[in-house]
Amino acid sequence: MSDAAPVASGATPPPATETGPAPASVWRALASVVDPEIPFVSIVELGIVRGVERDRDGWTITLTPTYSGCPATRVIEEDVRAAVLAVTGAQARIVTALAPAWSTEWIAPEARRKLRDAGIAPPHPVGSAAASAPRTIAFHRAVPVRCPRCGSTRTRELARFGSTACKAQYRCADCLEPFDYFKPH
């Protein structure tokens, strides 16, 4: 039984073509595992679970890292093992898939709403006009990032990097609050 997650197309929910209850229950268990750096978004919603497969001794879970140096990777792997063990009683083998490289395009729509609710502006679509707007002056990009608190687009980038590898720092000129922007990747 093999269920590869859809590639490069928005959300990666449990596939609809289940042939038995077991893979679906594993997917559900994985949906309870969160990224420790954005603990309100599950790793399934984030698009880093690329496959769930039953093998002879247990389960093979294929994960892809968001960024090469993401320090959360190890913790996520341990949490995945624990979640699979809890729901199936079997061991999980973790396989890391680098290709195709993770993209913010794989973040589920529901997770984008959760990001915004948590004060993090969700990423623009990769390759969109907003995400690839040319720089006019260095440090000032014509990217209308919407403030997740007040909705204003009068915002500016403070720094290219933020609290984690996947975010940049912005500030709203209307409500004056600084906020994180999830970088299109």
Partner: protein
Amino acid sequence: MNANAQLFDYVLRLADNGLVLAQRLGEWVGKGPVLEEDIASTNVGLDLLGQARLWLAYAGEIEGREAPPGRTEDELAFLRDSGAFRNLLIVEQPNGHYGDTIARQFLFDQWHVLVLAELAGSRDARIAGIAAKAEKEARYHIERSTDWLVRLGDGTAESRARMQCAIDALWMYTGEMFAVDAAERALIDAGIAADVAALEGPWTAAVRSAFAEATLDVPADGWMQGARARGGKQGVHTEHLSRLLAEMQILPRSWPEARW
């Protein structure tokens, strides 16, 4: 060198660039010029370190094909002496002031993106996968280092003079980026390695364009580290590397088998 040894050596070249530059960027932790740059430097370093781990893990597997099980990524990072490192000389140069760090990063980033884009089409699927992932990260790094090059170059008279001085001092090391030795040539011919000699034109064009925006002068022609001189890619390093390694490796060397 047989084909396996050549591939091992080549992947080490890719790994050590990231590993050594990440260590240098890590030296800014807690003392960046502003908090945001402290964070940015270390985030770039973190990306490079993550990439280096992927390359080192693969290098160990390649080594294991002939001498199983092959060294682990930690053994390769912490238990090699400077003569066994294969990074470009530019990445081991000291941080200096922030303009020096930005100059080094800018010149490297411009090269790194071109190389990774080439390697994403490598016939070696593992190399292609790591490179495609790393390229996305490097494309982001280049925006920041270019921003700072322009800000400091097209800044005050003082910042411009310092930026120019930084570029002039590092310029001779850029020759090595495009020098191809026999081992690398064999892998280029096999469709595995990036033909860096062919990337010099695009690199020069990109660098000149950014220099123009930054009001910086292209350094005058002078001696360049390159094809006729053995350098970092052959394990012949500046004295800076051994000092860097002394700090980076002291814990596992002093307490072998130490566990976190």
